[in-house]
Amino acid sequence: MNEIENTETSASTRDLSNAPDMIVCEGVSKWYGDFQALDDVSATIKEQEVVVVLGPSGSGKSTWIRCINRLEHHQEGRIEVDGIELTNDLRNIEKVRSEVGMVFQQFNLFPHLKVLDNVTLAPIWVRKKPKAEAEEQAAALLERVGIPEQADKYPGQLSGGQQQRVAIARALAMEPRIMLFDEPTSALDPEMIKEVLDVMKELALSGMTMMVVTHEVGFAKEVADRIIFMDDGQIVETGTPEVFFSNPTEDRTKLFLSQIL
């Protein structure tokens, strides 16, 4: 942790005010039956920005992040990703899905495919890449996430941290401009968390636009440009990590921080 706080290349020192908008949410609301999971959520995320979403369990973080690549459909408001509005338009959904990569808490690797095939499947059939090219790229990505030697294994034969890194490689293989992470480390043992966070950090420094739901405060402090705090389906507070962690304005935020810090 100390090491993290001492790093100089903190992403939060960047000035992104002139960067183009990547994700725009305006007044997004969503109901499950009669239960409202998102309540008028509005936020804009700039290109290359790294946003960490915090909030207590059940506050709607996953729901929001899943609305952004249309795993869930929002019912009111509008979501625009890289200038494409998310509607029922098949072409838009297709485009957004290939612009947005997603990493899940439970990895969700395809257990019947080898690691290499997990990574190449979507490029070959969705991006319509030639197989050889896709495999070359996959090998490079596995190298980048630090597990080139596991390509011929099945997901079930890997450790949790390795699986999650494969999942990141799989998402990156689609060459997304945005990466969404939904609690990528909370199903992992402590010693594996670091290897995944390192990969994510490297990704953030390479200029990827990222939206991360996580409870890793260290990661948030070091990498995030902005923290968004949610509760009850609403955005309660937004701010840079320094301000957010040291000087929160809202009572709910203070309560939450007092519990996790």
């Binding site: 007044g27 109901w31 009669d34 459909h73 009111e76 509008r78 338009d89």
Partner: protein, 510 residues
């Protein structure tokens, strides 16, 4: 929804995409296209069949139900039915009869087989395994025919054909044994028992309350059973005083007779419409949030429209098909008249009676008389076939269910000091039963359907009778329709019963 200042412009989903790219539009177009194809194909096939039947001069109507037929059935409530409908009815009763008896015996045997497969005794275990593996892997039909061919080479029936002369006979005409049957006074006696059941219910409640309040052991079930038994015994002597109950049913019968056809039509239509309306209201209420926001996606709209459409179609069917309503009225009247006649007996009738089998010689060969409980050779072949076959499957279910109880449960039971029998009764069986029941319910369904193989050995079940009927009248399509309706209702009944148990057990779980 309260407006927020940041996003006043963003309340509505913006412009619709073009139709051929709209996921929702495509979804429904695809479905309607398939529906269209299915309906057109069905229409095409039926119109072909209609044309072909007309060309061959066999109209598909249901007239044969009332027309006389020349059919003699081997057994059943009526061996010389006077109409096609009556013949089919006899077949249905035969199917139901063999299914119920089969289910009971297959369950008993299945439990024995399952326990044998779990036994520590090596020999018993092996026997159980042999039983299961042999019976499971030979087609049921082969088994039924084999039993039939074995039974038909048994010796002829004679007065001394034993094994216990005058009490129990086995011969190539079947198996005959003493019979206990419901005599004329049974229905009056049943009224007494029903009253006893009501009293027993209140006694049970009362005793339970005492137990809950004072903690003394009051054995409510025992008390309730005692009350019912008391009523049953007393009923044997006093039941004639209830012969007036028949007149209630008589009145009901004449009520049904006097009602115009319009009444059931209106009642049925009303039920359909009101039911649909209530369902839609409940559905909408469930989808309305506390703040009054109603969020319905396309599937929800489909459900509402579908419900409305079904109810309107039903109303249309009820109104235009007056035959249904008059059938309801007629069969209601007939039912109540039959019940009335059951009460119409003189006072001395007994509720039960028993008789021994007898052997009579009318023509050339001796045969069993009507007095005993006789299992014909065909019945026995089908019965042994389905019971043995199903017992193998039920046995496997029982074994699997008991093995599915985690070992920890048994250990925990002995840890809290339960004896083996107590653990079995309170811990293992309740959990195993939950696993056993669903697949066993499936086996009951299979057994019922498998009795249709009776046609191979000439037992007069619905399929066999139906085949005879359409061979005589040429009305294949209507008979097949009746078969399907009959079996579907049987399947539905069994699954409803099994599901009821299932749900009850799941409630117990919580």
């Amino acid at each position: 929804m309260s407006d927020t200042p940041t996003s006043t412009s963003a309340k509505v989903l913006s412009a619709r995409p073009p139709l051929w790219r709209d996921a929702v539009v495509l979804k429904w177009v695809t479905q309607l296209f398939l529906l269209f194809i299915v309906l057109t194909s069905l229409w095409f096939l039926t119109s072909q069949a209609g044309d072909n039947l007309e060309a061959r001069d066999i109209p598909s109507d249901f007239n044969f139900i009332e027309r006389p037929v020349d059919i003699q059935l081997s057994e059943g409530i009526d061996t010389h039915p006077d109409s096609g409908g009556r013949a089919l009815w006899v077949g249905m009763v035969n199917t139901i009869r063999i299914s119920i008896v089969g289910i009971i015996f297959a369950t008993i045997l299945g439990i024995i087989v399952g326990l044998a497969r779990l036994s520590n005794n090596w020999l018993v275990n092996r026997l159980g395994t042999m039983w299961v593996e042999t019976l499971r892997n030979i087609p049921l039909l082969v088994q039924i025919i084999f039993y039939f061919s074995v039974l038909t080479v048994l010796p002829r029936v004679t007065l001394e054909s034993g094994p216990i002369n005058g009490w129990f006979h086995i011969s190539n005409k079947g198996i005959s044994m003493p019979r206990v049957f419901l005599a004329d006074g049974f229905y009056q006696w049943l009224v007494v028992v029903l009253i006893g059941a009501v009293v027993g219910y209140y006694v049970h409640r009362h005793r339970t309350r005492i137990h809950n309040e004072t903690g003394t052991i009051t054995s409510p079930t025992l008390w309730a059973l005692a009350v019912i038994t008391l009523f049953a015994i007393v009923g044997i002597f006093i039941h004639p005083i209830f012969s007036w109950v028949g007149s209630i049913f008589g009145a009901l019968a004449s009520l049904f007779d006097s009602l115009p056809v319009l009444v059931p039509q209106i009642v049925l239509s009303g039920v359909a419409l009101v039911g649909a309306a209530m369902w839609v209201r409940k559905f909408i209420r469930k989808h309305r949030s506390a703040r009054g926001h109603l969020s319905l996606v396309d599937d929800d709209w489909f459900r509402i429209i579908f419900t409305a459409a079904v109810s309107i179609i039903l109303v249309f069917v009820f109104i235009s098909w007056s035959g249904l309503s008059s059938w309801i009225l007629n069969s209601g009247r007939d039912l109540f008249e039959v019940i009335e006649s059951k009460f119409n007996v003189d006072g001395a009738a007994r509720p039960f009676d028993a008789m021994r089998p007898e052997i009579i010689q009318k023509g050339k060969f001796p045969n069993y008389g009507p007095s005993g409980l006789t299992m014909s050779v065909s019945f026995a072949a089908v019965f042994f076939g389905v019971v043995f076959y199903t017992s193998a499957f039920i046995g496997e279910n029982v074994r699997g269910g008991i093995l599915a109880v985690p070992k920890g449960q048994i250990e925990a039971a002995s840890a809290v000091g339960l004896r083996r029998s107590q653990a079995l009764r309170h811990i293992i069986l309740p959990q195993a039963f939950r696993v056993i029941l669903p697949p066993t319910g499936n086996q009951y369904l299979n057994l019922t359907k498998n009795t249709s193989l009776a046609i191979a050995v000439g037992y007069s079940d619905i399929v066999q009778v139906g085949t005879t009927v359409f061979n005589q009248t040429g009305k294949t399509l209507p008979v097949v329709g009746i078969w399907m309706l009959f079996y579907l209702s049987c399947s539905l009944t069994i699954s409803v019963i099994v599901n009821w148990f299932n749900v009850r057990m799941q409630l117990v779980e919580r």
